[in-house]
């Protein structure tokens, strides 16, 4: 089986040559295990060329002056992944029944399930963390001028993601179905109703009828679990694709290097 040539990795990531005197070139069990792992990865890579995509994603060039502000986007993604994972675990216990099952299932998760309180807290506080990071990331993008040509579409996708994040917060707030959840949702849906002409119809769409009824909680649950996360995942994919394709910008205080002959002479 001909071995593919090693990919051009940056120097720190190349496998270091074996130290002289260690094992004398003999293949011990550790080397066998490493070779087995490498051949599995090679097998997949030969059939998918994923290493090319991974190299494009991870070893792309970034401008001089890239600083810690640029990590806010990845931080937001990490917060979203936290919400998704903790949300999946909560969904294993949650029952969207307005006649008592919802509140009781959340009480069960919080009190009786091993680490249930931890997972629920991660989800609840993760929501706040995600909103804060989203706004910080949006602010960073705005103040660094990273929304200008050719990145306008990326900004638009980001705004849609912001609206979807707010919608996730709104729909998720109802699910514990305690007093605060119920009345906050009542107020929120009624705020929608104050818009002229279309407001009452929007409120009816959210309620699933003229007032809070048997299907309202299920509706909010479906929107929170299925519709909006699907849209968010698709748009995050588009957002990341555009970021890697277009590259990131340098901070606004970074001066471009010009050739000596082209610089204006100092008077």
């Amino acid at each position: 089986m001909p071995k593919l040539p090693a990919p051009p990795l940056p120097a720190p990531l190349k496998t270091p040559p074996p130290r002289p005197g260690s094992g004398n070139g003999k293949e011990g069990p550790l080397e066998d295990a490493m070779n087995a792992g490498i051949s599995v990865v090679d097998w997949v890579d030969e059939r998918t060329s994923l290493s090319g995509a991974a190299r494009w994603l991870m070893f792309r060039k970034v401008p001089k002056g890239t600083n810690w502000f640029y990590t806010l986007g990845s931080a937001t993604l990490f917060a979203f992944l936290n919400q998704a994972v903790t949300g999946v675990f909560l969904a294993m216990y949650y029952r969207p029944e307005p006649s008592g099952g919802a509140y009781e299932s959340i009480r069960y998760v919080t009190n009786d399930v091993f680490l249930g309180q931890f997972v629920r807290s991660m989800h609840k506080w993760g929501a706040t963390v995600m909103v804060v990071l989203v706004f910080l990331h949006m602010g960073r993008t705005f103040f660094f001028g990273a929304y200008k040509y050719p990145r306008e579409l990326n900004w638009v996708i980001g705004v849609v993601l912001l609206i979807l994040t707010m919608a996730m917060g709104f729909t998720g707030y109802l699910l514990p179905f305690d007093q605060r959840a119920f009345w906050a949702t009542t107020v929120g849906v009624n705020i929608n109703g104050t818009g002229p002409l279309l407001g009452p119809y929007l409120s009816d769409f959210l309620y699933g009828g003229a007032e809070f009824n048997a299907t309202t909680l299920s509706r909010f649950y479906a929107i929170h679990m299925l519709i909006i996360p699907g849209l968010i995942v698709a748009l995050i994919g588009a957002h990341l694709y555009l970021v890697t394709k277009l590259g990131t910008t340098a901070p606004p205080w970074q001066k471009a290097e010009t050739r000596h002959e082209l610089r204006e002479t100092e008077v």
Binding site: P98, S99, G100, F177, F182, W183, T186, V187, V189, N190, I191, G193, T194, P196, L197, G199, P200, Y201, S203, D204, F205, Y207, G208, G209, A210, E211, F212, N213, A214, T215, L217
Partner: protein, 221 residues
């Protein structure tokens, strides 16, 4: 310009110079196949999109039937103070479908509005007309007070202070034998004229009743 109009393309593919055209053919086979495939795709997509749309938007148009509910006997309600009663707006979902109403017997000295004539009992909804928080009747000051944003209503449910845009909603009432029954909810404007039930936050004075229509789900009264 005159050239383009006079040089009209014939409807026969043979005349248009399509390769492989038959005598009398008006549409190429490629175009026919493409159009048919697109049509079948549209039918398949509609087969799952339209029911989903109907499922999402259908409840807006469904209207619940009017219900009359017994809330007490005729001697439980005074005519100068409000007694809270619990109503079931939506059956089957436990406490989330219940709401509170403040009931008082009709008092001709207080209820002087011509629109109120003939109502045996005045039943005021506890949902604030600002954004829907439940209001509390304070007997000492004869006011309804909303805890959320400080809306205050007087004895007749009319707005006295705060952000609400119209008076508190009311329920129809009737007496059946010894029992007082409450019926559907209706909204009032600041003159206490009656309208089909609206959501909180929707004013009904002047242009408000046209700007904020009652939706198909809320049955017209």
């Amino acid at each position: 310009m005159a050239d383009r109009r006079s040089k009209q393309t014939s409807k026969y593919t043979l005349d248009r110079g399509m390769p492989g055209a038959f005598e009398g053919e008006t549409i190429t086979r490629r175009r026919f196949m493409t159009g048919t495939a697109h049509g079948a795709g549209a039918v398949a997509a509609a087969a799952f999109t339209l029911p989903a749309l109907g499922f999402a938007l259908g409840p807006i148009f469904k209207s619940t039937p009017h219900r009359w509910e017994v809330v007490g006997t005729v001697d439980e309600f005074p005519d100068n103070n409000y007694v809270p009663v619990v109503l079931t707006l939506t059956p089957g979902i436990g406490n989330a479908g219940k709401t509170t109403a403040y009931v008082r017997k009709f008092n001709p000295a207080i209820d002087t509005d011509p629109y109120d004539k003939g109502t045996p009992y005045i039943a005021i909804s506890d949902r604030c007309a600002h954004l829907g928080c439940p209001v509390r009747w304070v007997d000492a000051s004869e006011r309804f007070v909303c805890p959320c944003h400080g809306g205050v209503y007087d004895l007749l449910g009319r707005r006295v202070s705060g952000p609400p845009v119209r008076p508190l909603d009311r329920f129809y009432s009737r007496v059946t034998g010894e029992n007082v029954e409450l019926g559907p909810r209706f909204s009032v404007n600041s003159l206490l004229r009656r309208f089909s039930p609206r959501l909180p936050g929707e004013p009904l004075d002047g242009i408000g009743q046209y700007l904020y229509p009652s939706t198909p789900g809320a049955k017209k009264l």
